[in-house]
Amino acid sequence: MTFFTSWHVERADQQINMKQLLAFTKKEFYQVIRDKRTLLIMFGLPIVQIILFGFALTSEVKNVHLIISDNSKDVNTLQIINKIKASSYFSVDESVMGYADIEEAFKQGTVKSALIFPSDFAKDLVHSGKAQVQIIADGSDPNTAKTIVNYLTAIINDYQAQLSPTVGLPYKIIPETRMLYNEEGNGSLNFIPGVMALILMIVCTALTSVSVVKEKELGTMEILLVSPFKPFMVLISKAIPYLALSIANFTVIILLSVYALDVEIKGSILLLFMESILFIITCLSLGLLISNVTASQQTALLISMMGLQIPTLIFTGFMFPLENMPWIFQAISKIIPAHWYYLIVKSVMLKGLGFEGVWKETLILIGMTVVLLTVALKNFKIRLS
């Protein structure tokens, strides 16, 4: 066997070479940077989506017509009413109305919100340190309704805090809110975590699958396969540059949310990043899986965009409350990775929870990623067809 030298054989057994990986990553970056279309999807789409969702779903309200029905007429209610009047959110109408009149006004749509003090408000507050107040809002416009409720609750809480130290007793005013017509009142500012999940899902999955399928379509995969480069290394080399790009992408989304939309990140940024990297890996695995079963860039794009956008929108829970869905839909939502990521981001970003609050969701997401990645790697064809 003089035909092939030992040098050739040794080369065959060469271990995974970091140099090859680096060269591949470099190549991938060149390609992305030179492809205006990819760049546009990568960074244009998130910016447009965040801004569109940001302003379309904004729930800023001003000068809302508020009916206050003060059946107690004491110093406390007067102070609260003055506080409400002082804010720029409401134009107050103090006409004394019965409950039936209020409902009639709601039905006609002339009134969007009402605040009702019961007749024994002051008495309760002084004697038992506890009083109730009713807030009614028109739930057919859930965003506005929720905002109105939040504002009123905040004003009452503020008053309560003001009251407590002077009197020395812990006073409690319990606003009993009621949304007419839409008791759940979905559609809040929670959309940011949802949009994040949506964008990462689409961008990561689409770009990864398209870039692998492009190699197949242009024939370069043929050369890569007929080379010492191990087949599965092709997938790994694809995933790394897109992981880096997706992290950059995520940073853009976060910066936009914080600076353009004034979203406050309550929890740890580091945790948020780590969880997002995990989710990005999930999406990359999904993208690789899609690339295994598709042969053209268009199909890959269509599956990743259409096939994933709609389920993500519906089953993540940020657009439509999952609680109202039939059990089958609720079950489906449980297998959508974006659903778990959405829960994690909501907890970390909006509620400020630490890892102990999201470890279960994280574990589920890790499990899904491992399964997807294994299937993608196992199914990667080492030959054509």
């Binding site: 090859q20 060269a23 060149y30 492809d35 050369i223 007929v226 010492p228």
Partner: protein
């Protein structure tokens, strides 16, 4: 030792409905420049893909550089240089970037085997900062050859490297192959151009997935059993039909501006016989000469016999 061995290989597509390669066997010797000659659809690409381990044959055995295409597929992938039929480099990378990328992926550097590609690379060097997609057809093929050679392969597998390339570049390309052969690299090349067959040491003529003949181009031409005549007149299409209808004529087909004609029986005065036939049919400006057959004549004859 054979660099490539193909033994009774059969390949079908669409669950056996389309027969692409039909029980083919041939061998390529170490250091040989071997050509697979045949029209589109003859099964050339399928053979290349089986040899490069990209496709699995339905039946038969094959080995490249001593490695079995199924068992040792990774060894084959490590040691062959492959140029697919379609230009398969990164169009959005420059010439230099493509070369350095493939060098790294193949676990080597441009410098390590520069002597091997120098002659070829020198020709595209002035364009090293140009994107590969913006190169001319000939340039693309030169770059692809450089990339296939960069790791000093034992066997070079080139699937229709000159298709879609201008005549001058085609010539240059074959010159390069000769130079590479001198350096001891075994080359298996396919082409639909019959005139390129003479540039190979040995060839296999392929038609509809079958090998019709394997030999040196000279021997294949020598084996042509008939005396071949070239014929021409003012009405060449009419002449074609007239000759075909004549009982003495074995075969007649158009070949460039001439007709290539053979007679059924070996005749001393074949030229005269043909001239008479042409004159009887009222042709003018008749030109008839005995000519040397080429590979294409053999090919047509063989496909007639075996098809």
């Amino acid at each position: 030792m054979n660099a490539v061995t193909v033994k009774n290989i059969t390949k079908t597509y669409d669950k056996g409905k389309v027969l692409a390669v039909d029980n083919i066997s041939f061998e390529v010797k170490e250091g040989e420049l071997f050509g697979l000659i045949g029209p589109d659809g003859a099964g050339k690409t399928s053979i290349f893909r089986i040899l490069t381990t990209l496709l699995l044959a339905d039946k038969g055995e094959a080995s490249v550089a001593g490695f079995d295409v199924i068992k040792d597929y990774q060894s084959i992938r490590n040691n062959v240089g492959y140029m697919p039929g379609k230009f398969s480099l990164y169009q959005d990378l420059t010439v230099a970037e493509n070369l350095s990328f493939f060098a790294t992926v193949f676990g080597t550097t441009i410098e390590a085997n520069y002597d091997l590609i120098k002659d070829i690379y020198d020709q595209i060097k002035p364009f090293s900062n140009r994107r590969a997609g913006k190169l001319s057809g000939g340039m693309k093929q030169k770059l692809a050859l450089c990339c296939a050679l960069i790791h000093k392969p034992l066997v070079l597998l080139l699937d229709e490297p000159t298709t879609g390339v201008d005549v001058v570049s085609r010539k240059e390309f074959w010159e390069m192959l000769k130079t590479l052969k001198k350096q001891g690299i075994t080359i298996l090349v396919s082409t639909p151009y019959m005139d390129e067959a003479n540039l190979c040491e040995r060839i296999a003529l392929l038609q509809k997935g079958k090998i019709m003949s394997v030999d040196t181009p000279e021997n294949i031409i020598k084996a042509f059993p008939y005396t071949l005549y070239g014929a021409k007149s003012d009405q060449i299409y009419k002449l074609l039909n007239d000759l075909r209808l004549n009982g003495q004529v074995e075969s007649c087909y158009a070949f460039g501006e001439f007709l290539h004609v053979t007679l059924k029986e070996k005749q001393e005065n074949g030229k005269k016989i043909l001239r008479v036939i042409a004159e009887q049919n009222g042709h003018s400006n008749i030109w008839i000469e005995e000519i040397k057959p080429g590979i294409e004549d053999s090919f047509i004859l063989l496909s007639g016999e075996q098809g």
